[in-house]
């Protein structure tokens, strides 16, 4: 056991009546990359938070280097040489890399930025980071910021690194870079724990995979002995099919035509620039891009939540054949025009639903104005709530339980269910499977496919390129608020899309440089 960097014995953590981790015992060896795999709510993050000092286990012991450790705070965790890189970066924008790295550290007497910078440079050279220690954080891309977070924990002497879904915000190229760096660190004798949903990354990177299911430890397997299928079965506990069916698009007609749409925010920053495309009925149009490239603004512009600086959004009504310009109309005006536009926003509880209300009252969001008089009619929303619970297998104690208390997947089912119930002609979904487990994700894909079959124009903003390529008929790639291209889902490759996510067509890049 002398090779074990971390050993967990009988770790249990409860939140109220929910047991997030149940009697988990496992080890992480020195010089290995371990993936922790599990569906949502299986307790991966809780377990790692106990290692990094955010939570404290109710029962069980943690051994670091063979000695029992009591980790009460992130500071304690650092003393045990454990460093966690969270999904949301904790950096001060206006400071440089060096300043961020040494922030909060006790120095020896005089502060020497030069010395620290030199040490950072050393770390960079050692593991192959490419970063200027004097660069300011606000000038950096997401992947550079992540690098800074990693340097920060290594600088503090971490021997055990925990990364929580590090690739969610990266392009395929950046992901490959990160993996190379992690491999270098492993070869240097560090232990790396990576939490992820993406099976292909698990296969590509890790030496071992530990699987959790519903808070329980299922087992650890060597990656070379595992397949994506076998890991999925361990995770879910039963056989699942990992194929998305893509039917041929049919009866394609122009449904939504965007021409030269530009949006600027209050500070005058251009969020969308001359975006033009057509969404057709009976097909799924995917939108790919690095997080924050304007996907959110694009969907919100269509839904009437963003003010358009220029351009037009023409809706072709399938029944009347009339054309309506949705530009700068409010969501209510759009609905009054008879446009059946459904929108599943990225921020489910912050925008699509009201967390403290039950399913019935959330169903009512779309329909409460209907009916006569000044009073609410809860009968139909209640029936709809019951129907969605039954058809989408929402796990909830009842229709009146606040949706905030449901799991991520169930919250999403409620939201998607409501939006589909409106029988939309245009269905937009932003990251509809983010944070969802495999079963729920496939349920959502099937629902999107069913909408397409029914002749709806589906717009799907996704982050997993494999899924986009499998599911979508056409994929629009967006980069810095501009369209860098539209590719066919059947012939596109991940590499092509990855390139387009970071590069605009040359002509436009030049224009950007000139500014």
């Amino acid at each position: 056991m002398s090779n074990a960097a971390i050993e967990l014995k009988g770790i249990t953590k409860r939140f109220g009546s929910i047991t997030a981790n149940k009697n988990i015992s496992m080890t992480v060896a020195k010089g290995e990359i371990l993936s922790i795999l599990g569906e949502n709510g299986s307790g991966k993050t809780t377990l790692m938070n106990m290692l990094s000092g955010i939570y404290h286990p109710d029962e069980g012991q943690i051994f670091v280097d063979g000695k029992e450790a009591s980790i009460q705070s992130p500071k304690d965790a650092f003393n045990y040489k454990i460093g966690m890189i969270h999904q949301h970066f904790k950096l001060v924008d206006i400071l440089t890399v060096t300043e961020n790295v040494i922030l909060g550290l006790k120095g020896e007497g005089k502060l020497s930025i030069k010395k620290s910078a030199a040490k950072i440079k050393e770390i960079c050279d050692m593991y192959g980071f490419n970063i200027d220690p004097m660069k300011k954080i606000y000038e950096m891309s997401v992947s550079e910021k992540q690098t800074v977070e990693i340097i920060k924990v290594i600088y503090r002497g971490a021997q055990i690194l925990i990364l929580d879904e590090p690739t969610a915000v990266l392009t395929p190229k950046e992901t490959e870079n990160l993996f190379n760096i992690l491999r270098n660190m492993r070869d240097d004798g560090k232990s790396i724990i990576i939490i992820t949903h993406k099976l292909n990354e698990v296969m590509a990177l890790s030496d071992k995979v530990a699987v959790l299911r519903k808070g329980e430890y299922i087992g650890t397997v060597l990656t070379k002995d595992a397949t994506e299928q076998s890991l999925t079965e361990m995770m879910v506990g039963k056989k699942v099919s990992l194929n998305i069916e893509r039917t041929e698009p049919h009866d394609c007609e122009n449904r939504l035509v965007l021409t030269n749409v530009s949006v600027t925010n209050k500070e005058g920053v251009q969020l969308l620039k001359n975006v033009s495309f057509t969404a057709k009925s009976g097909e799924i149009l995917g939108i790919a891009g690095i997080a924050g490239s304007g996907q959110k603004e694009l969907l919100e512009a269509i839904a009437g939540l963003q003010h358009l600086k220029t351009g037009s959004i023409i809706y072709h009504d399938p029944k009347t054949g009339k054309e309506e310009d949705l530009r700068n109309k409010t969501p209510l005006q759009i609905r009054d025009l008879g446009v059946r536009l459904s929108f599943v926003p990225e921020d489910r509880l912050g925008m699509g639903l009201v967390g403290s209300m039950g399913i019935t009252d959330n169903m009512m969001l779309r329909s409460y104005k209907g009916g006569k008089g000044m009073f609410l009619h809860r009968k139909d929303p209640k029936d709809l709530a019951d129907k969605i619970i039954k058809e989408l297998e929402v796990v909830t104690p009842g229709t009146e339980t606040p949706v905030r208390k449901l799991s991520g997947g169930n919250i999403q089912k409620v939201l998607v269910g409501r939006e589909i119930a409106a029988a939309p002609t245009v269905f937009m979904a932003a990251y509809p499977v983010r944070g969802l487990d495999i079963n729920s994700s496939y349920l959502i894909y099937n629902l999107l496919n069913a909408q397409k079959e029914g002749g709806t124009a589906v717009i799907f903003v996704g982050e997993d390129l494999d899924v986009l390529i499998e599911l979508c008929d056409r994929i629009l790639v967006i980069c810095h608020g501009q369209i860098s291209g539209i590719v066919d889902g059947k012939s596109a490759t991940k590499e092509d899309i990855g390139m387009m996510m970071t590069n605009l067509p040359t002509a436009e890049v030049k224009e950007g440089d000139a500014q």
């Binding site: 939140f15 109220g16 009546s17 929910i18 404290h56 109710d58 000695k67 029992e68 450790a69 009591s70 009460q72 839904a303 009437g304 939540l305 409010t330 969501p331 209510l332 609905r335 929108f343 926003p345 921020d347 509880l349 912050g350 925008m351 699509g352 639903l353 009201v354 967390g355 403290s356 209300m357 009252d361 009512m364 969001l365 779309r366 409460y368 104005k369 000044m374 009073f375 609410l376 208390k405």
Partner: protein, 364 residues
């Protein structure tokens, strides 16, 4: 295996996820009992043992319910508090921190007096109607001003409504000087007309009826009306409200109009039913106490009947002890403060659970 090298925390605090209704009710009732006991102790201390522990409670009961007149006063004070708490409920439900109930009620009271001064010869019924409308409009205006600026330029409503209180106080002082019975008296003479008729043998009988009706209507409005639903959505998430097409600014202004109007109504009732004059302390801090009453009731207007009664009872009961033991008025403020502190603290135990470390207790 029992070698304990690492230190463990003795006490930890964990968030509760679910709590049975029985237990949460138990904690609440328990906190009221503890609050009453603590009040007794505080009184015992500040009276220097002039009064025995048991006597404190009998005197409090005596003070609040001893005679028919005292019961009436308890009911009157309860209703005065209730009306303002109910008025605040929609604003708080919208997460709009209306700290200006005091001022909104004050301008309501002032408006009633102005109407009486301007046209004292109207028939009483008509006069009362005009007073009512004037008060409600004045209160609504006092609520809409901060609401409008919140909606338009995101002005901080807490400071805005608070400052509006002082504007109202100065306005009232101006009119009191204008109307004072003799120069330098600082008070105006009571109005001779514009009084609500007696009901149940008291001047403020109609006030009680009106307030109870408003309370029930407010409950129905918040729970079953479309506007009440909009208020709840805006309060929870403005983004969700925009997403489904609610005009958030309109809801803010409308709700503040309602909240202010009900405060103005409270002012009207104070003038026409109880005091028959206006003075700068006519609301008597109830505009602030009502905030606690409303939150104690979790913004449910029906529950506010109980919470406003409890606060009034403590206030009156302690005042009785204070007068029999020659204490000043602040005694009741102290006692009510202690009681509210304990009751609000109980919310902590409803939301969180304290865990004592088992391993530490075993003592190895």
């Amino acid at each position: 295996m029992k070698v304990k090298t690492a230190k463990e925390p003795m006490i930890r605090i964990a968030k509760r996820t679910e709590l049975s209704t029985g237990l949460s009710m138990g904690i609440r009732v328990g906190s009221i009992v503890i609050a009453l006991l603590a009040c007794g102790l505080v009184l015992l201390l500040i009276t220097n043992g002039k009064i025995s522990f048991g006597d404190i409670y009998s005197q409090m009961l005596e003070g609040a319910f001893g005679t028919a007149r005292r019961i009436k006063i308890t009911v009157r004070d309860t209703c005065a508090l209730l009306c303002l708490a109910v008025a605040l409920a929609p604003a708080f439900k919208m997460r709009f921190w209306n700290i200006g109930a005091e001022g909104q009620a004050l301008v309501g009271a002032l408006a009633s007096c102005i109407v009486v001064k301007l046209c004292p010869d109207l028939p009483v019924a008509l006069l009362l109607l005009v007073m009512f409308i004037a008060s409600v409009v004045a209160g609504a205006l006092w609520g809409v001003i901060p609401g409008y600026f919140k909606a338009k330029i995101k002005a901080n409503e807490t400071l805005f409504t608070l400052m509006m209180n002082y504007v109202a106080i100065q306005l009232v002082k101006f009119f009191v000087v204008l109307w004072e019975k003799q120069k330098g008296a600082g008070v105006m003479s009571t109005l001779t007309t514009g009084k609500l008729p007696q009901l149940f043998g008291v001047d403020y009988g109609w006030s009680i009826v009106i307030i109870l009706v408003i309370t029930v209507l407010s409950y129905v409005y918040m729970k079953y009306s479309k506007q009440g639903y909009e208020i709840a959505v805006v309060g929870e998430s403005e983004n969700t409200a925009r997403y489904i097409g609610i005009n958030v600014n309109k809801v803010i202004v409308r709700t503040m109009a309602i909240s202010g109007a009900l405060c103005g109504l409270a002012g009207f009732l104070l003038v026409s039913g109880t005091h028959h004059l206006v003075k700068s302390d006519i609301v008597g801090g109830n505009g602030f106490t009502a905030i606690i009453v409303a939150w104690l009731a979790k913004l449910n207007p029906l529950t506010m009947i109980l919470t406003s009664f409890f606060v009034s009872f403590l206030d009156i009961g302690t005042a009785k002890i204070a007068s029999s033991c020659n204490l000043n008025d602040f005694a009741s403020d102290v006692v009510v403060g202690v009681a509210l502190f304990i009751i609000l603290a109980s919310e902590f135990f409803i939301n969180y659970r304290v865990i004592f470390n088992k391993r530490a207790k075993e003592g190895k």
